[in-house]
């Protein structure tokens, strides 16, 4: 009965979503406060109901209730508890439930913490959230119901794909979804603004933290996915320009643009229409990502055509929301009043350039991702667009943006003064160029991109430091007053500096691993060694291995740097039962300067084993940079400004509470 309880809660949530969609919208239109307020209850109820059904499904996984088809198909009684829980969203149905749960969490947050929003705006935002929730709840209940039951129930389940039984991947989807779905709030704000026909400072102030939250989660979610691919897939790569990766990267690019343009709306009352459009595009791309990953269209357009029920449903949702919102935009956007003016060289101008470059970069990724699909749809050949395409298109577009990132924060609003910027930045630029020259001297025979890339990374990090130094007047005023200024800095400013600096570290990692990666493929017998970068790796021994649901071989490797023994690495080849699926476990020595990465391959004819070894210099800077960007976002989010905005909030809140 617990299972049916959860099922009914999910279905009730569908009903509540319809209510949440219609009633507040009518209420806001008629100015009926009571109806508008029921929208707030509806959002909270929706959160409660979906949370109940999610908990019930998780419970069914934990107790191995195989009368629930979803549990039978994706779980196994012998699985460790953590993978029983992560198995809930390790499959299509459960992941969609997680999707609506996160949507409901965002909706509930707007309902509960949105007291400093005008009630009409809040109602309309919640109504749009309700519409999105309704579409996806119907999708779940009608085509992907995780509470489908089996009678009689089987006694054992099918288990979870072994490659997914990994901690990083277990928690990657919740973060990624928190990012994808968070953009729905910006979308809802944009549509609400279009309905109201006004975008004001309060609107911009509210859109920004939600976009920031979504952006943060996207950043960390993408980083986790890439980290997982790096150490679990055993290819030594960290990013493959795979459509699934691109599907999350495109919303990231656009939400980064949105993050920056929302500043302009708040500070200068300009770029309103553009920001609304970006909000719509960001969520549209995240919907498209969901469609690409969930419909099976990526594996093959034809497989999708054979079993189109789910894909078609998402496609309809896609058309409805993207088409609907863009039509609304075309109709209402001209009514939004244009805001303040600014000179081309100004903070606003810089942010416009940032937006343009990010959007064009996103377009390049978009074409590279969808062109093969389109070609296949029209019965062309099945082609795949690989890294060369993206390096040649995305690279040149993003380069000038990276060059300009440190300049932006130094530009004044309205009318910037390049000479002043130069005075504050020339030292950073000089140091960056010197670093580039040193790299050039060390790599005199190429690769030629290395000095440029490293100089750019240094430029970003130094630019961020210069930004901070200028803001606190470092060495210009006494240190104590610098400290005073530092503590008084808005947290969003520090967050921005961290994000820009983290980007620099990430670029350093990307450039280093792309250009200086050492790849060694050798056949080794036990006792033999190979040189990998500055390290010597010796194949010590090979032993049989048996785990709870797999058997395999474990190879041991001694890593030495010169004569100094560093560590012993273990790389495994596992064969999972009952699927017989082989996986590899990478032997990984992580240091800040670079990783030694050892993969034991197949046996060769003469009794040796093929080994793939890599030295990946600075690779951890990629994830370190992403983490710092995440922290920057988190810090910005705590900025006090996002809690201001309600007129006489304290008084009216108390009055309500006293009733």
């Amino acid at each position: 009965m617990i299972a049916e309880f959860g099922h009914f809660a999910l279905i009730l949530a569908t009903g509540v979503a319809l209510y949440q969609f219609l009633v507040p919208l009518v209420g806001a239109h008629r100015g009926d406060t009571a109806l508008m307020r029921t929208g707030i209850s509806a959002a909270v109820l929706q959160l409660a109901l979906i949370a109940v059904s999610f908990v019930v499904l998780t419970h069914a996984y934990i107790v191995s209730d195989f009368s629930v088809q979803n549990v039978y198909e994706n779980s196994h009684s012998a699985k460790p508890l953590i993978y029983k829980i992560s198995g809930v969203w390790g499959n299509h149905e459960g992941s969609m439930l997680l999707w609506v749960l996160i949507l409901a969490i965002y909706g509930g947050a707007v309902a509960l913490f949105g007291r400093n929003l005008p009630l009409e705006l809040r109602s309309r935002v919640l109504a749009i959230q309700g519409a999105i929730g309704l579409a996806f709840l119907l999708f779940i209940v009608l085509t992907s119901n995780p509470f489908q039951r089996l009678d009689p129930p089987p006694i054992e389940g099918n288990g979870l794909n072994p490659i997914l039984q990994d901690p990083a991947l277990a928690f990657h989807p919740p973060f990624l979804y928190a990012g994808y779905v968070g953009l729905s709030i910006a979308f809802a704000f944009a549509v609400a603004a279009l309905i109201e026909g006004r975008v004001d400072a309060a609107w911009a102030r509210w859109v920004r933290p939600w976009t920031l939250a979504a952006w943060m989660f996207l950043t960390i979610g993408i980083a986790m996915g890439s980290w997982w691919a790096y150490y679990e897939l055993g290819w030594g790569g960290w990013w493959f320009w795979d459509p699934v990766e691109n599907a999350s990267f495109m919303p990231w690019l656009v939400s980064t643009a949105l993050l920056h343009s929302a500043i302009v709306v708040e500070k200068r009352n300009a770029l309103k229409i553009w920001t609304v459009l970006l909000s719509i595009l960001a969520f549209s791309l995240s919907l498209m990502g969901t469609f690409l990953v969930r419909s099976g269209v990526l594996t093959s357009v034809h497989a999708f055509a054979v079993d189109p029920e789910r894909g078609l449903f998402i496609l309809i949702i896609l058309c409805l929301f993207i088409g609907g919102s863009l039509a609304l935009f075309a109709w209402r956007a001209p009514m939004l009043k244009a805001g303040g003016l600014f000179a081309p060289v100004s903070r606003e101008g810089g942010l416009v350039l940032n937006n343009l470059l990010l959007c064009v970069a996103c377009l390049a990724v978009f074409i590279g991702t969808l062109y093969p699909l389109a070609l296949e749809t029209f019965d062309g050949p099945k082609i795949s667009v690989g890294p060369p395409f993206f390096n040649l298109t995305f690279g040149p577009i993003i380069m000038p943006l990276l060059l300009l990132v440190p300049v932006g924060p130094f530009l004044a609003w309205k009318r910037g003064d390049m000479a002043a910027v130069w005075r504050r930045l020339w030292k950073s630029l000089a140091v960056a160029v010197v670093i580039g020259l040193i790299v050039l001297a060390v790599n005199i025979r190429g690769p030629w991109l290395a000095p440029v890339g490293m100089a750019m990374a240094a430029w970003l990090v130094l630019g961020a430091i210069a930004d901070l130094a200028a803001r606190i007047g470092l060495f210009k005023v006494p240190l104590s007053s610098s400290w005073h200024r530092f503590t008084g800095l808005p947290r969003s400013a520090i967050g921005g500096i961290l994000a820009h600096g983290g980007l620099g570290l990430m670029i350093a990692g990307i450039i280093a691993i792309s250009l200086w990666k050492v790849e060694v493929i050798v056949a080794l017998k036990t006792g033999e060694s190979a040189d990998v970068g500055a390290y010597t790796v010796t194949f010590l021994s090979e032993t049989p291995l048996s785990g709870p649901n797999y058997t395999g071989r474990a190879g041991r490797f001694l890593v030495k740097e010169g004569d100094r023994e560093i560590t012993t690495l273990v790389s495994e080849k596992r064969n999972f039962q009952p699927s017989g699926m082989p996986t590899t476990e990478v032997g990984l020595l992580q240091t800040l300067l670079g990783d030694v990465y050892v993969v034991m391959g197949d046996e060769t004819t003469d009794g040796a084993r093929a080994m793939r070894m890599y030295y990946n210099p600075l690779v951890n800077f990629i994830w370190l940079g992403a983490f710092i960007m995440f922290c920057g976002g988190l810090l910005s989010l705590t900025d006090r400004r996002y809690r201001v905005g309600a007129p006489k909030r304290a008084i009216s809140a108390q009055a309500v509470a006293a009733e």
């Binding site: 009965m1 299972a3 049916e4 309880f5 099922h7 009914f8 809660a9 279905i11 009730l12 569908t14 009903g15 509540v16 319809l18 209510y19 219609l22 009633v23 008629r30 009926d32 406060t33 009571a34 109806l35 307020r37 029921t38 209850s41 909270v44 109820l45 109901l49 069914a60 107790v63 191995s64 209730d65 009368s67 009684s77 400093n116 929003l117 009409e120 209940v141 009608l142 489908q148 039951r149 006694i155 006004r198 004001d200 400072a201 309060a202 500070k267 303040g340 007047g473 007053s481 200024r485 008084g488 808005p490 400004r641 201001v644 905005g645 309600a646 007129p647 009216s652 009055a655 009733e659």
Partner: protein, 365 residues
């Protein structure tokens, strides 16, 4: 019934919470002035500007320009509030709340299974005996045996259960354990061998043949062992021996023996035929992937070729082989089979005519 009461309570609670603002809410003391929200933000921006000036983060001239601009916007945002409307009629909200059950009830009736109880694995195993849950009982015995490998009674429960569930490999393992623990008996050996044959898709392996020989050593008249031993001979291509064994077995078989029909069918089967597929194999084949099916067909055809090499007199067999090779797309192998068959039947014009006819049909040069 209980579950519907719970659902009714849930629905009622949802509607109650949904409507609570309608009951509680009074109109705001003054109408909500949208501009007031903007004014609050502009004031905050001014305050921030003052702090920046105080910390020296912004030059006074720039600060003045910014202050001017924000103040202008502040003044612009002082339009009078529009008059707030009174509360709408509660009846409308009440009516709207009916949306929830109107959506939920039909959806649940379509998608739900209110009659099905929960089946958590642990309770299922605990109550297996009371509820007569056959699969759960098997799992319980399995768990018990994983700890106590030498409990012959347990294996004796499992062996027939596995047979019924057609889990032949598991059944063979159980029979092997019974033999290990209670010593070889003719019946036990025959059961073990049979499970091995079934697990092997109906083919009697050399190992299984040995088991049947041992069983016959203990009881020379044991029907099951005699049958499979004869079948083994047949599959090994020893047609004459197989024929003798089958006939001897038939002679000892009473007219009303349940296996008599199966025995006769097996005897009538052409000697060189590949082993007939048992039902299980057919079922497996149906659920196989196309590649696996292809692989199975190929292995059957290979088996046919082996048999023909041992006993080349079977014209029908050769024709089947050539046709099969052709259909599977192995033109080279088809040609090879055709040439071998032609040399085999070089003195038999009728056979040669049949072979040539097929070759023409299959476009074999």
């Amino acid at each position: 019934m209980m579950i519907w009461i719970v659902f009714a309570i849930m629905t009622a609670a949802v509607i109650a919470v949904l409507l609570s603002p309608v009951v509680k809410a009074r109109p705001l003391a003054q109408g909500q002035d949208r501009n007031a929200f903007d004014r609050a933000i502009f004031r905050d921006q001014l305050a921030e500007l003052d702090r920046d000036v105080e910390r020296g983060a912004i030059a006074p001239a720039e600060a003045d320009a910014a202050r001017n601009e924000i103040s202008r916007r502040l003044i612009a945002a002082t339009a009078p509030p529009h008059a707030s409307r009174p509360l709408g009629t509660p009846s409308m909200a009440l009516l709207a709340a009916l949306i929830v059950p109107a959506v939920a009830l039909p959806l649940y009736l379509k998608a739900g299974s209110p009659q099905l109880p929960d089946m958590p694995l642990s309770t299922r195993l605990e109550n297996a005996t009371e509820t007569g849950d056959y699969e759960a009982m098997i799992v319980r015995v399995e768990k018990h045996l994983a700890q106590n490998q030498d409990d012959v009674e347990g294996w004796k429960v499992l062996a027939p259960a596995y047979r019924r569930a057609m889990r032949w490999a598991d059944a063979a393992e159980a029979e092997r354990n019974i033999l290990r623990l209670s010593g070889p008996t003719a019946n036990g050996l025959a059961d073990y061998g049979e499970a091995m044959v079934m697990a092997n898709q109906g083919t009697v392996s050399a190992e299984a043949h040995e088991v049947f020989r041992k069983a016959l050593g203990l009881d020379a008249k044991l029907p099951k062992a005699r049958f499979y031993a004869a079948l083994a001979l047949k599959q090994e291509g020893k047609s004459a021996e197989a024929k003798a064994a089958f006939e001897a077995f038939l002679a000892d078989t009473p007219a009303d023996a349940p296996w008599r029909d199966m025995l006769l069918a097996e005897m009538n089967d052409a000697v060189a035929r590949p082993p007939a597929l048992d039902q299980q194999t057919m079922k497996d084949a149906a659920s196989m992937s196309p590649e696996d099916q292809q692989a199975m067909i190929r292995s059957m055809v290979d088996g046919l070729e082996e048999k023909l090499k041992a006993n080349g007199d079977d014209l029908q067999g050769w024709l089947r082989l050539i046709r099969a090779r052709g259909v599977l797309g192995d033109a080279g192998k088809a040609k090879l089979a055709y040439d071998t068959a032609k040399s085999q039947f070089k003195d038999n014009p009728e056979a040669l005519a049949a072979l040539d006819g097929l070759a023409q049909e299959m476009k074999i040069p």
